[in-house]
Amino acid sequence: MMLVAGIDIGSLTAKALILEDSKIRAYAIIPTGVDSEGTSKKVMNSALERAELSLEDLEYVVSTGYGRVIVPFANKNITEISCHAKGAVFLFPSVRTILDMGGQDCKAIRCDASGKVQNFAMNDKCAAGTGRFFEIIAETMELPLEELGGLSLEAMSAAKISSACVVFAKSEVLALLRKGVDKKNILAGINEAVALRVFALLNRVGIEKDFAITGGIAKNVGVVRKVEEKVGLKALIAEEPQIVGALGAALFAKEALEQV
């Protein structure tokens, strides 16, 4: 039995996943605190507890995400783009295009059948379409974050949101709220603006079937629906899309161990 782990320290959440041979044994997701090293220990301990294992049981650990270099128990660190591609292809072997919508950035990734990255593009200069963006929109509209997607699907029409920039979009949302525009219609408009932006990002790498969305925003059904409309493809989404990067890291750990 081979026990390895992947740990993904993202800007908003930290994820740890334990792989037993090729099967996910346990995982954990917690918010990333200011102490990334402490967060990495906490999330790994949480996953280990669920797997009824200790750190010593793990034969190899690969870290990824923005905080990957500060994970003290990682044997190796690999960037999140490689890990998301690896994880997505493991879950959906036919996937060749991945949209990772994380806490702080969006990445469009093209990969081959083995999950090796062929091309990638990242959003630049702004947080449009990221977890942080939707957190701010939720705060502005005084709505629970997890309800944004479902509510947007109930919209009668999409309000016009001209910018996906956090600052400008927030101003536009406030102006629309003052005008009395239905919150559902505003949310639909926001999703439309975000979808347009990520569609452009995807086009930069070239969209090839099949298509998957990973990261926390994949849980927002409203955004997913709009992106699918733009792309013209049904998005493959993991049961827990936030752990795809950690899964990829664990798969790299498994490969590293097999090569030894």
């Binding site: 923005y66 960037t79 062929q118 990638f120």
Partner: protein, 396 residues
């Protein structure tokens, strides 16, 4: 906060630093030395000044030096306080800020031109107004054919006439020819240095001249100092090759189009972490220029039209693609890192064209890094490092 600039024990780098310091010291000392000072757009040939024993001052290049020293913000803030927008090119704004703050050597004349951008052109007008000094605009065509050369030769003649009238001096034809002869020699030596950079592994380090191998030819063209400098660099490169004292390389990189001040630390990291060496920069490329001291102004016109700033806006961007083709082939480039300076429309708009060319014709991947050429407030160095890591993971 200014980015930490890695130090390497390099004769080339030490002498380059001294060389740049001397160049700008001469500008700051010009008035005391009884010499005329000319603020120039950085597309224009320094030889015009040296022919008249005047001193050129390139404000945007001084802005780059100040950025490296972590003191450029005062100029940017001066320009922004005056009303220049935050989004405007920081190179242009640094020049405006120097003029507005009065913390730069005052010009006796200003020479401007339209390449490489509208902002650069307009800021020299501001300088002339601010200092109440005469200003001459050199119209640079973008065609390098006979008509273009003739036209620019006439423009340069007009510029020299303007300077002599403004300064109340006379042009010595003999001196002009001598200056062009020196310029020609520096160009030849720069070519020699770049030939040496084609060797595998390349004998010079990415960071040694901060990616500015063009500096001596561009701004000290027509001086013995430029010749001595390139001769020294060539000698160092040859010695390293002979002694086998050359840093190993796995990837040969082209850096385009400009090397930002904030990313200098990345250059050395690339070499150490990935054995990825910048073996050529778009601004470090040495074009072959037909120069003949017997035809001094025509020679300077040819040199100006072979500008070292491709992708930076003299004519349609497509005209610059041949230089990418030449470099990728001649230097056996494995990958290109393209710095998209936020404030520059021409650099940013060329991204797709260059990326497509590299992929379709050479299957060479290109990484695009976003940032600001000078502004320390827009220096996402860690984000750039993250993207570089992703990029090299993909290559490996």
């Amino acid at each position: 906060m200014a980015a930490t600039i890695p130090q390497i024990d390099s004769e080339v780098q030490k002498q380059y630093a001294q060389f740049v310091a001397n160049f700008f010291k001469s500008a700051f000392d010009a008035r005391n030395a009884g010499k005329k000072l000319v603020w120039m757009a950085y597309y224009l040939p320094s030889e015009l000044c040296y022919a008249l024993d005047a001193v050129p001052f390139y404000p945007e290049i001084w802005g780059g030096v100040c950025a490296r020293q972590g003191i450029v913000l005062k100029y940017l803030e001066a320009a922004e306080s005056f009303g220049y927008p935050r989004e405007l090119c920081s190179a242009t704004k640094s020049a405006a800020g120097m003029a507005l703050s009065g913390e730069a050597p005052p010009p006796d004349a200003v020479l401007s031109t339209q390449p490489v951008c509208d902002g650069g052109m307009k800021v020299h007008e501001l300088v002339a107004v601010r200092y109440k000094c005469p200003h001459f605009f050199i119209d640079v065509p973008y065609t390098k054919d006979k008509n273009g050369i003739e036209y620019l030769t006439g423009e340069l003649e007009g510029a020299l006439k303007f300077l002599t009238e403004s300064f109340g001096t006379e042009l010595s034809e003999a001196r002009l020819k001598k200056v062009v002869e020196l310029s020609k020699r520096a160009e030849e030596l720069h070519l020699e240095v770049n030939e040496l950079r084609k060797k595998k592994p390349s004998p010079l380090l990415s960071l040694e001249l901060f990616g500015q191998y063009f500096f001596p030819c561009s701004f000290l063209g027509g001086t013995q100092a430029a010749i001595d400098f390139y001769a020294m660099v060539a000698e160092v490169a040859k010695r390293r090759i002979k002694e086998g004292n050359v840093l190993e390389e796995k990837y040969r990189l082209l850096w385009a189009p400009l090397v930002p001040q904030s990313f200098l630390s990345i250059l050395q990291w690339l070499e150490l972490e990935y054995k990825a060496k910048v073996v050529m920069e778009m601004v470090g490329y040495a074009p072959k220029i037909e120069m003949d001291a017997a035809k001094p102004l025509e020679s300077l016109a040819r040199k100006t039209l072979e500008a070292r700033f491709p992708s930076l806006g003299n004519g349609p961007g497509v005209l610059n693609l041949d230089r990418y083709r030449e470099i990728v082939k001649d230097y056996d480039i494995d990958a290109v890192i393209y710095f998209a300076h936020w404030g520059c429309r021409t650099i940013c708009s060329a991204v797709k064209m260059v990326k497509d060319l590299l992929r379709e014709e050479f299957d060479v991947p290109m990484l695009v890094l976003d940032g600001d050429i000078f502004d320390p407030r827009n220096n996402p160095v860690e984000q750039a490092r993250a993207r570089v890591e992703e990029f090299f993971e993909m290559l490996e």
